[in-house]
């Protein structure tokens, strides 16, 4: 959006010389660079009536001047282009007025040779803007006795926030397709004054230079009902409205949108409730090299997120276990994040608006985990009354998206789907290797959205989405180290959700959000004669009410309920004791069998205050209370976060937080067969302290330390006897997307350790990674070309070295001696460069784009594991993927 800045300045020259500086005495006595020093000889320094020091252009060869009464005229401003209201203040600050007083040196030619801030505004952008503007001022120089001389003057700029504007489009009736021309749009101020414009042929209108205040917007057109809206215009904002001008006699159709349905108000974002909230925007999600444009894979490039080993798609946040981080889609918990092998996530980027990632110290609205939170925001279908489509194919999957209006109902829809075709090439490969293949690995996911803005302040959306991964093969070749991994191997993981979301902003002070979702989760796998089959019905609901109680005080409260009946059938070998290797191959012990039907019921309520006690400060104390029916225990989690702006432009913020985070045990951990009854929740205390600075609109830098103290950790089959710590430092230097570039440098230094029981030594946590460095960027070269690169340098993953041990004569396999403690050794450092090239072509009605995403561009043989020979006397590193180009093609309407 472009702003026509309203420039206002006042150059106060104070009559003629009222503001000429008395303090210029010293200036007059100092030799100036471009001018000869004042003549010596005991004469007094000439002064104007106001005391200004006037320095004549003296002839060095002339005799010393006689002390005479000199006529002095001050500099006269002849050109002033004004000073623009600083963009960063417009974006980030509350658009206040500001005044900057400058001390200018005007030379004998009338040019400003120097501008110093005499009295600043307290905001560096204002001061900078004033100085820059002052350098462009042109004066008629001061004169002494008719001779131009240099002088100092005081000059003041006053900045006022730009005025606001309203623009929009009027439609004929409720069709949302026919623009209405010549509608009269009247903006009536509280004092009764009016401004009128008419909508153009395309239905658009625009009213600029609107002073802040309360207005009534009236839209009238022949043959149509007149509509009125109350508008509270804030300074420096723009409203973009879509108005359905109902015809006289037109029957109101249920579901038809009346009134403006889209309002965009430009204002600085409210600071987050959390200590750290990292948001990825669409362009970043789409373009990060090495991710194939996959949104959730892009998360793995943020500070605090470890690189998952090999082809595993896991989110490992600040040294936590993967199951310690929850992923929500618009507030609904999903059980899976990635399809098989982490190739892509279960929700495609195309339907996402943004991803909010909270690596720790998250708000009381989230709970039941002690790691991090990922909240994926799904976008609404486009509301421009047109149909849009997208189709994409690459080497892994194909996807489509269609969206548009649902006839003239006011509803808009989006429909999307994706299917992999890994099975097309993998099935022949598996068959050639001797495996019988019924279903080669295949995944698909689907999404359907139906949304409607009920009114200006209310919206409703239905979202149906799901994912399905499956394979079914017969392994005829028996694994030398694990005979039980032969025979029929099948896996089916999937879920679906039907989600409804209602939002109502009753007033500027009161907002209500309600989300409810129902669905099912599936997890079946069979390996030989072992199986695990779980079907879960899921009912979740989240209600949040936000009430502005007083200026600077917002009260948020809500409910978060999870009810999940499930049926599980399991036949698996008994788990080994904590910290010990398995007692043999999976067939070496009589398996455990469980068939159970039960329900997980976990209601919670949370409350939080957002307090702005003083300018630039923000305190967020909160409390969350959870109940877990499976453990019959309550968790009371107090949390507090605080922020304080140290400087405002550029903004520098000191932030910190402390809070308790409880995570109920996993269902299998409380199962009397596979786990232990009587468990309570795992607990973590998060401490966070950091500083962030917005260098300018695009560049921000942050440094944050974290410490997580873990206790009551569930040690499987033993109880809540584990403890641990995770601590580290995260830095992020980020260039936020502009029309050309985005990128960041992220570095995390961390350590995560666990102690399985009080007597045990502390060990490194399974996914501990000491150093994680990610540098990435993407640049639009022009003519549809975009080039990006990502480089990662990460400590190696942990592994357990094996050596020659025993021979299991029943199973016919060698059993290694595992080095203790388990996962106590580290693989070599991982480093990889990924490159992505995009090219797009614009046509009249559609756009075509192609991309080449090259992972591991310099073919680094990164180590992902260790391979052993049959009796563990020889070993070699198992390398990860070699250079892997992926080509994609996308068409968009």
């Amino acid at each position: 959006m472009s702003w026509a800045p309203i420039r206002r300045h006042v150059a106060r020259l104070g009559g003629t010389w009222a503001l000429v500086l008395a303090s210029a005495h010293a200036f007059a006595q100092e030799p100036q660079k471009d001018e000869p020093p004042p003549s010596q000889g005991g004469s007094s320094v000439p002064r104007g009536a106001s005391g200004a020091v006037l320095v004549p252009k003296d002839d060095p060869n002339a005799p010393p001047p006689k002390p005479i009464q000199v006529v002095v005229t001050p500099p006269v401003l002849t050109r002033d282009d004004g000073a623009a209201y600083p963009a960063e203040m417009l974006a980030n600050a509350p658009r206040e007025t500001a005044k900057v007083s400058l001390l200018l040196v005007v030379d004998a030619a009338g040019k400003v040779t120097r501008a110093d801030v005499e009295k600043g505004s307290g905001f560096e952008p204002f001061d900078r803007a004033a100085v820059e503007a002052a350098k462009r001022l042109v004066f008629e120089p001061a004169k002494r006795g008719g001779t131009p001389v240099a002088a100092k003057v005081r000059h003041t700029y006053e900045f006022a926030p730009p005025k606001s504007r309203i623009l929009g489009k009027v439609f004929d009736g409720t069709s949302r397709t026919r623009p209405l021309a010549q509608a009269t749009v009247t903006l009536r101020a509280a004092d009764g004054s009016e401004r009128k414009v008419a909508s153009g042929a395309d239905g658009t209108f625009r009213i600029d230079d609107i002073a802040p205040g309360k207005y009534k917007l009236v839209i009238a057109a022949d043959g149509h009902e007149t509509q009125e809206y109350d508008e509270d215009i804030e300074p420096g904002t723009e409203r973009d409205m879509r108005i359905d001008q109902k015809r006289i006699g037109e029957v109101k159709t249920p579901g038809v949108v009346e009134g403006p349905v889209l309002e965009v108000t430009v204002k600085g974002e409210k600071p987050p409730r959390e200590v750290t909230k990292r948001t990825l925007e669409q362009r970043e999600m789409n373009r990060i090299p090495g991710t194939n444009g996959d949104a959730l894979r892009s998360l793995q490039n943020l500070p605090g997120v470890a690189r998952p080993p090999g082809l595993i798609g896991l989110l490992i946040v600040r040294g936590s276990a993967p199951q310690d981080t929850n992923v929500f889609v618009d507030g609904a918990l999903i059980p899976l994040v990635y399809h098989f092998g982490g190739l892509s996530s279960v929700v495609p980027t195309e339907i996402l608006e943004k991803i909010d990632f909270y690596p720790g110290n998250f708000s009381a609205q989230y709970g039941r985990v002690m790691g991090g939170i990922v909240d994926v925001g799904v976008r609404d279908p486009k509301k421009d009354g047109k149909f849009h489509g997208m189709a994409q194919v690459d080497l892994i999957d194909a996807r489509f998206l269609a969206e548009g209006p649902v006839f003239n109902t006011g509803w808009n829809f989006a429909l999307a789907g994706r299917r992999s075709y890994v099975d097309v090439w993998l099935k022949p490969v598996l068959t050639a290797s001797g495996a019988g293949v019924s279903t080669a690995p295949v995944y698909y996911d689907y999404q359907a959205i139906l949304a409607r803005d009920i009114s200006k302040n209310q919206s409703f959306r239905l979202f149906f989405f799901g994912s399905d991964d499956r394979l079914d093969i017969l392994i005829k070749s028996v694994n030398a180290s694990e005979p039980g991994l032969a025979g029929g191997i099948s896996a089916h993981t999937g879920f679906w959700r039907l989600q409804g979301r209602y939002k109502n902003k009753f007033t500027d002070e009161t907002e209500l959000k309600i989300m409810g979702a129902v669905g099912q989760d599936f997890l079946d796998f069979t390996v030989g004669d072992n199986f695990f089959k779980l079907t879960t019905e899921v009912i979740t609901s989240r209600v949040e009410l936000s009430q502005k109680v007083a200026p600077g005080l917002i009260f948020n409260t809500g409910l978060d309920v999870l009810y999940s009946p499930y049926r599980v059938d399991v036949r698996l070998p008994p788990p080994p004791r904590p910290g010990e290797p398995p007692p043999g191959p999976i067939l070496s012990r009589p398996p455990l069998t469980v068939g159970d039907t039960d329900a997980i019921y976990r209601p919670a309520m949370f409350s939080e205050l957002e307090i702005v006690p003083w300018k630039g400060g923000r305190l967020v104390p909160g409390l969350r209370v959870d109940y877990a029916k499976d453990t019959r225990s309550w968790d009371i989690n107090p949390r507090a976060n605080a922020r304080q702006d140290l400087t405002t432009a550029p903004r520098t913020t000191l932030k910190g937080g402390v809070g308790i985070y409880s995570q109920p045990p996993q269902p299998q951990e409380t199962n009397p067969v596979f786990g232990k009854i009587g468990l309570v929740s795992n607990r973590a205390i998060h401490y966070g302290l950091g500083v962030e600075r917005e260098v300018n609109r695009n560049i921000e830098v942050g440094l944050e330390g974290f410490y997580k103290q873990l206790d009551h950790l569930v040690t499987p089959t033993a109880g809540n006897i584990g403890t641990g710590r995770a601590f580290g430092l995260e830095t992020l230097l980020r260039y936020k997307p502009d029309e050309r570039f985005f990128g960041w440098l992220a570095y995390t230094l961390s350590r995560s350790v666990r102690r399985d029981s009080p007597g045990e030594p502390e060990r490194l946590a399974r996914f501990d990674q000491t150093h994680i460095l990610t540098v990435l960027g993407s640049y639009r070269l022009g003519k549809g070309w975009e080039l990006g690169a990502r480089f990662r340098l990460v400590s190696g993953s942990l592994y357990t070295p094996n050596t020659y041990g025993f021979y299991d004569e029943n199973a016919g396999v060698n059993l290694p001696l595992q080095q203790y403690p388990l996962f106590g050794s580290r693989l070599p450092v991982f480093h990889q460069l990924d490159i992505r090239v995009d090219k797009s072509w614009k046509f009249k009605e559609w756009r075509l784009s192609a991309y080449l995403d090259v992972q591991n561009a310099y073919n680094q043989g990164n180590v992902e594991g260790v391979s052993y020979n049959y009796n563990f006397t020889r070993s070699t590193y198992a390398q990860g993927l070699p250079i892997l180009p992926s080509l994609g093609l996308r068409g968009e309407l």
Binding site: L311, F340, E864, S867
Partner: protein, 343 residues
């Protein structure tokens, strides 16, 4: 359950990596060192108090056999070790733990009381067979395990194939609970390398009311023709320079359907009792086998087609041996040993 999901996905991915990046090691089927290939109990499931006869199939594939390989049996039966873990047989008992408790020590813990360097050889029985008696309290003394289909007991017997003599060694702190208190030494008191010794163990499960029979080997075929097990297999040597160009010969073992027993503890989600899993492992002293083992019967899908292995004879003329061991997934085993004549 998310942890289970993630573990499953992780395992699948790791298996994928392992499959994709298998190093060029000698296969398990190539016999070139001291090896134990299998053991066989005449009663894979024994009743408490029953006598059980154990046999072991140990081979010496070394070219230099100046120190002959011997088969030693450790003179104790490890009854119901903690968590059924073989390594717990050598663990000292924890305080306050009683017999059958989860923290009970193993009978082999007594070895830890001996001074390192003690030569055990004079006290050990040698030979390919060993007899034990399943302890009468094998079932009753086993700690109750929720989720297991019926009470059971476990007896573990350890044996060592060693080209030398056995001595007590000090505990190795780097291997945690998996202590190996014995090692094989040569006459100069040097511990021999893994090519000259194997420490093995065999499990015999005890049930009051359940039986298991060893798989029956009906016959062996070579290129589709039955093999006379006494005479063995005649095959022409490979004449090509490259191994991959050598002709492949099909070898298959026939196990009758009647040997594919029902496994009462394996029921599907409908409660239907399924059968055992049966597979065959192949070993040869000359030539090369493709794959180490082949599945013969799947618990759900039954007899597996295409269970044969491919054999490539060596370039050298001479005699060797082919061993085929058939296992079931309940501790049953059987084997045949077939001469290979490479012409």
């Amino acid at each position: 359950m998310r942890r289970l999901v993630q573990r499953f996905v992780a395992c699948a991915a790791l298996v994928g990596i392992a499959a994709a990046c298998v190093a060029d090691f000698d296969p398990q089927s190539k016999i070139g060192s001291v090896r134990i290939l299998a053991s066989r109990a005449d009663k894979p499931y024994a009743k408490p108090g029953e006598a059980v006869h154990l046999e072991v199939l140990a081979v010496d594939g070394r070219t230099d056999k100046t120190r002959p390989m011997k088969m030693f049996w450790l003179p104790f039966v490890c009854e119901n070790p903690r968590n059924d873990a073989y390594y717990a047989c050598f663990a000292p008992p924890s305080r306050d733990a009683g017999a059958g408790d989860a923290d009970a020590g193993g009978a082999g813990a007594v070895l830890g009381l001996l001074r390192p360097g003690v030569d055990l050889t004079p006290f050990l029985k040698t030979g390919p067979a060993y007899d034990i008696t399943m302890p009468k309290d094998a079932v009753t003394s086993h700690a109750h395990v929720d989720g297991v289909d019926g009470p059971y007991g476990l007896a573990l017997v350890f044996n060592v194939a060693c080209a030398g003599h056995l001595e007590i060694v000090a505990a190795d702190p780097s291997t945690g609970v998996q202590q190996v208190p014995i090692a094989c030494f040569d006459e100069e008191e040097n511990q021999v390398d893994p090519s000259q010794y194997v420490i093995g163990f065999t499990r015999v499960y005890a049930y009051d009311d359940r039986l298991n029979q060893n798989p029956v080997i009906d016959h062996l075929t070579f290129e589709g023709n039955p093999v006379d097990l006494a005479h063995g297999i005649d095959v022409d040597h490979c004449t090509t320079a490259l191994r991959r160009d050598c002709p492949e010969k099909k070898i298959d073992i026939a196990v009758p359907d009647t040997s594919w027993e029902l496994n009462p503890s394996d029921k599907d989600t409908n409660g239907t009792v399924r059968h055992e899993q049966v597979w065959a492992s192949y070993f040869s002293s000359v030539g090369q086998l493709e794959g180490d083992a082949r599945l013969l019967y799947d618990p759900a899908q039954g007899k597996v087609d295409g269970s044969e292995v491919k054999y490539q004879p060596p370039n050298e003329i001479g005699d060797g041996t082919l061993w085929i061991v058939v296992h079931d997934n309940r501790g049953g085993a059987n084997w045949v040993e077939v001469p290979l004549h490479v012409h």
